[in-house]
Amino acid sequence: MKDRGADRGRRGGRAGGADRLDRAGLELLRAIALRAETARRLVGESGEAVLRAIVDATVALFQAEAASIALHDPATDRLVFRVAAGAQGAGVVGLSVGSSEGLVGYVYTTGQSIAQSDVQRDARFGRSIAEQTRYTPRSLIAVPLVDEQRTIGVLEILDKRDSTSFSIRDIELAGIFAHQAAVAISASRIERDVGSLLGATVRSLVAQAEDAGGPLPDAAAVERLVASAAIGLGADDEFRLWELVEQVARVRSADPAQLDLVIDLLNVLALHAERRHPRRTRAGG
């Protein structure tokens, strides 16, 4: 992961401090990073679940044939459809379009909401997507997903079942749904930033030690810092979830066959839990 702290920090030139920590210090940092990544994956999954819930609700409320969310992938500069709902929605997940291409690209590029009633008349709009999904809508709404800084993706709603077009109120309502999605996405991005924070902390520790002319921080110093930062974590009602995370982290040392078995077991348990408690998402919660 590219560390943004290095770009911004006054001490960017001294990056690489982690190489100079002792072995025990490095192992400790790896352990922290592993837990952060585990937590990210757990929370990241629930982030995706929120997006799915949003498109499900969108389809139900608008009585639409489909709703989908496309997010911008900076690596490829494309908008990738991440989740979709509705009778005509499923085919779009995983597809992508250029960031300025079609209606989705238009909304992403301008950051402005738009609705269109006679989509088929303008053959260029979303044609590549329509060809891939074999579904050409009559009408659609597309609204940008905007976080505090910029546009990060687009929420699209296709074809109201009981009407040939969307109303002005529909566009405003779509904006509220898009806002919810943007909030969910930026929450999961915060999790991802844990890695960058860790890197920035290490560099800051190393730089402070250098400024003070003293030795580099040892494992005990890092541990004290991390322990003080982690006070209170795990003491709340998420405790059982953290326990699960610990177990998942331990299973990493298992051989591939054992891992497969654990994954199968968890799959069966998850299916069972979903059937018995369809609304519960927390382990043991």
């Binding site: 609705a115 905007v146 566009i171």
Partner: protein, 279 residues
């Protein structure tokens, strides 16, 4: 406005007061008085958007200049405003706005300042630099069918909106459809516009409850699009240029009106309610 000496009372002294005479009372202001016979001549409308396709039939050859704002190359540097070699629109949004304004004020000159596009999508700093450029040039009407949600730029946009107001310019802003604040569309000195669903470009409503004080045609509007085409689309983006066009007519007929007077004339000439025979 460059007050070197703080002589704020000077305009109000007896021998200078005659110059303060302004508009007739609001109830005497009619559409006939406001813009009858006006076609936008002598008024330039700047369009901060995705560019304007100069040869699009809907623009009627009124595009007189095109600029683009390039994002800063270095983090500390400022965005740069450059003259475009060719009048292009990268997505169609700006041409749509230009077409609506031209249909209402056919003799108004149009200037395109491109701040939207693949290379600077939604960058508030680029938008702010484009607005700063428009204010330096003192274009009397500026259409902003876009806004910024950046809290960091709140102060910068507030300052720009004040400068535009003091320079006698009217900023016509599309209200944002998304929850939360966006600038400069929520500032008091601008005209903030949302869409209504009456299919008539001359029907516009005044809303006495700010911040969005005007409603204009914005549902299934026939709009000019990229590559000389046209489509029908909906959004506040297409409501704002209707008000910008009407403001250009008023300004063309009454060149000395200040922004607050222009807003008052718009309120006085708004479509009366209830609207007979319409939804």
């Amino acid at each position: 406005m460059d007050p070197v000496l703080p002589a704020w009372s000077e305009p109000f002294v007896r021998e200078r007061r005659a110059a303060l005479a302004r508009l007739p009372p609001l109830d005497q202001i009619t559409r006939e008085w406001a813009w009858d016979g006006a076609d936008g001549s002598g008024v330039t409308v700047a369009i901060l958007d995705s560019g304007v396709e100069g040869d699009h039939p809907a623009v009627g050859g009124r595009l007189v200049a095109s600029y683009r704002v390039e994002p800063a190359a270095e983090p500390e540097a400022e965005p740069v405003v450059l003259e475009e070699e060719a009048a292009v629109d990268v997505v169609g949004h700006g041409t749509a706005c230009a077409g609506i304004i031209h249909a209402i004020a056919p003799a108004a000159d149009l200037v395109s300042i491109r701040v939207l596009g693949p290379e600077n999508r939604g960058r508030g700093t680029v938008f702010a630099a484009g607005l700063d450029f428009a204010i330096e040039r003192r274009y009397p009407i500026v259409n902003l069918s876009l806004s910024s949600k950046s809290e960091a730029l709140y102060g910068a946009f507030h300052d720009l909106a004040d400068r535009a107001y003091f320079a006698g310019m009217l900023l016509v802003c599309a209200a944002n459809n998304l929850p939360g604040a966006s600038y400069p569309s929520l500032f008091s000195s601008v005209v903030s516009v949302a869409a209504h669903d009456v299919a008539d470009p001359w029907t516009f409503f005044h809303n006495p409850a700010p911040p969005v004080e005007f409603g204009a045609y914005g549902l299934d509007v026939p709009i000019a699009w990229r590559d000389g085409t046209s489509i029908a689309a909906s959004g506040n983006s297409f409501a704002a240029p209707h008000i910008a066009g009407i403001a250009a007519l008023i300004r063309s007929r009454h060149p000395s009106v200040r922004p607050f007077e222009l807003k008052a004339i718009l309120a006085a000439t708004a479509t009366p309610l209830p609207l007979a025979g319409r939804a």
